[in-house]
């Protein structure tokens, strides 16, 4: 697979020359591949927010380089806006950035800034709202009259409408109730499947990441401590717990079973997989 974003020795230090000086990201190198669904995990303060704000050029590295395709995104600082259109970033609690009178106008803010014509904007707005599961009846409503979950969807649509090559979502499900979380994640999976573009999801919920992504990057203490498929990552469960992260509950059950002498792969991470493994085990025995 071809990398679409390449991060090379990225370092970001906040507050140089103040008593609050600290490196939020230190010497991080990673690649994001075209078309993949990547999960980034780490707890608050691990550097994940700082890292993703570099991927679309909101922050400028204090050391290292970011490449989008083959281009260093800071090669021409005047063109940094183009990078932001290609790498769409949805912040945590994005509903707090809504400002327009209608849902339609708010979602079209991004495409308008891109300088697209009215017809294209219209197409994009409608298509984006469809991806986040909002109907046409929402278009003329004020975003402030919607429920919390709907506002979140409008805000996500506002970034999807720019049709970015890479969509980054920071804790998209934070604060939603289980049903809301389930259906939003379903929408995001659907978007990834239909569009085939790259999706990066930042989360601190292991269960959520485990169920959705192709590959995981684990951040702790301003650096990458691990990366690989969920199976690879969760086979290092103990190391994850050592940096203060959880592993999915299913993995914890499997580890516990292993500890009790059951012959099972402790790195399973979905209910279905563990169920299958246990059935196989019984079948083999019977």
């Amino acid at each position: 697979m071809r990398p679409i974003i390449r991060v090379e020795n990225l370092t970001h230090t906040y507050g140089v020359n103040t008593p609050f000086c600290r490196s939020a990201v230190k010497d991080v190198s990673m690649e994001i591949y075209e078309g993949e669904f990547l999960g980034i995990i780490g707890h608050t303060g691990s550097g994940k927010s700082t890292l993703i704000q570099h991927l679309n050029g909101l922050l400028q590295p204090t050391g290292g380089k970011i490449y989008l395709g083959d281009r260093d995104i800071w090669a021409d600082p005047k063109k940094i806006r183009d990078v932001r259109f290609q790498v769409g970033l949805v912040f945590q609690y994005p509903e707090y950035q809504l400002f327009e009178e209608t849902v339609y106008k708010d979602v079209s803010f991004g495409p308008k800034n891109m300088g697209l014509d009215g017809k294209e904007i219209d197409r994009r707005v409608r298509s984006a709202l469809q991806f986040v599961g909002l109907g046409e009846d929402m278009l003329e409503k004020s975003p402030f009259d919607l429920s919390g979950g709907q506002k979140r969807r409008v805000a996500i649509a506002g970034v999807i409408a720019m049709e970015p090559k890479v969509l980054i979502l920071d804790e998209p499900s934070a604060g939603l109730d289980p049903a809301g979380r389930r259906s939003l994640l379903e929408n995001i999976r659907e978007y990834h499947r239909k569009k085939g573009t790259t999706v990066v999801m930042v989360s601190h919920s292991m269960d959520e990441v485990a169920e959705n992504v192709d590959r995981i990057v684990v951040l702790a203490n301003a650096g990458i401590v691990m990366s690989g498929t969920p199976h690879e990552v969760f086979s290092h469960a103990q190391e994850l717990m050592d940096v203060g992260l959880n592993v999915p509950q299913v993995t914890q059950v499997a580890m516990e079973l292993k500890r009790r002498g059951v012959d099972i792969d402790p790195a399973v991470y979905t209910v279905a997989d563990l169920r299958r493994a246990l059935n196989d085990l019984r079948g083999g025995r019977a």
Binding site: P19, Q53, R84, F91, Q97, F109, N113, M162
Partner: protein, 267 residues
């Protein structure tokens, strides 16, 4: 970038400057400002500057933090300095086109800059070493006599302390909203004045909505903690003048007196 504004920020510590009664510190700042405005010439300024330097030393505040506080008003300072430089009549030094620079003008501009800088530094030192709550406590206590003429002193103090409490939160929030809109391609830098003003709408609307929401929630939270105005309230920190307060006050009063005397002799 907004995070760099240190206005109203408090650096906790346990120095003499931190331990002084806030009322003392407010009076000190008043005395200090009075001295600054009464200072006429080098000797007086040197005396006031010396007091400032000693105060900064005692407070343990890094001088850089004070200099940083000046940044937002550098423009105003320079502007007034230039006006003073160009428009003060007196003994001519140089003259070009329609401008004349006089000896008095140079001195005036120099003292102007000095006065402004020292004024800002002194007041910043107060906010750096006094927690906003004890600052408002101090003000409330100093202004207490005004309650007799029905000035809502407690309420005003509460408003001020809450405003101070939320400055860092709202600055952070503004930063976040700006980033979020930039991520959607918002452009705050280019365009003419009108376009720039229009570009602020996507920041201001969410910011206001959020500020109102916060105010609402904070009000409920305060009521839940039995807040019901100033009546019958007690304090964790009761203000009490100690020997050190009297000593420092006396010192500053002496400084002001000295400046007045020096001024009399034109120094």
């Amino acid at each position: 970038m907004l995070k760099d504004i240190t206005l109203g920020q408090f650096f906790p510590g346990n120095t003499l400057a931190h331990r002084l009664d806030p009322r003392t510190k407010i009076i000190l700042v008043v005395l200090y400002i009075a001295a600054l405005f009464c200072a006429k010439y080098f000797v007086s300024y040197a005396l006031v500057a010396l007091v400032l330097v000693i105060s900064v030393k005692v407070s343990g505040v890094h001088p850089k933090a004070l200099v940083k506080g000046l940044r937002p008003i550098v423009f105003i300072i320079c502007f007034t300095a230039i006006l003073n430089l160009l428009y003060t009549p007196g003994e001519e030094l140089v003259s070009f086109w329609i401008f004349t620079i006089t000896k008095e003008g140079v001195l005036q501009a120099f003292f102007m800059v000095l006065r402004f800088t020292m004024l800002i530094m002194g007041t910043f030192l107060l906010t750096y070493t006094t927690s906003p709550i004890s600052l408002t406590d101090g003000l409330e206590s100093l202004l207490n006599p005004l309650k007799k003429i029905h000035v809502p002193v407690h309420e005003l103090a509460m408003i001020m302390s809450i405003a101070l409490r939320f400055i860092p939160t709202l600055i952070e929030e503004t930063d976040k909203i700006m980033s979020a809109q930039k991520a959607r391609g918002a452009d705050f830098e280019s365009g003419n004045l009108l376009q720039k003003a229009k570009a602020l709408v996507p920041i201001l609307v969410p910011l206001f909505i959020s500020a109102f929401r916060r105010a609402d929630e904070l009000a409920v939270a305060m009521e839940c903690r039995c807040y019901h105005g100033g009546g019958g309230r007690t304090k964790l920190h009761v203000l009490r003048y100690e020997a050190r307060d009297y000593l420092v006050l006396a010192g500053f009063a002496a400084m002001l007196a000295a400046v007045l005397v020096l001024g009399h002799f034109g120094l």
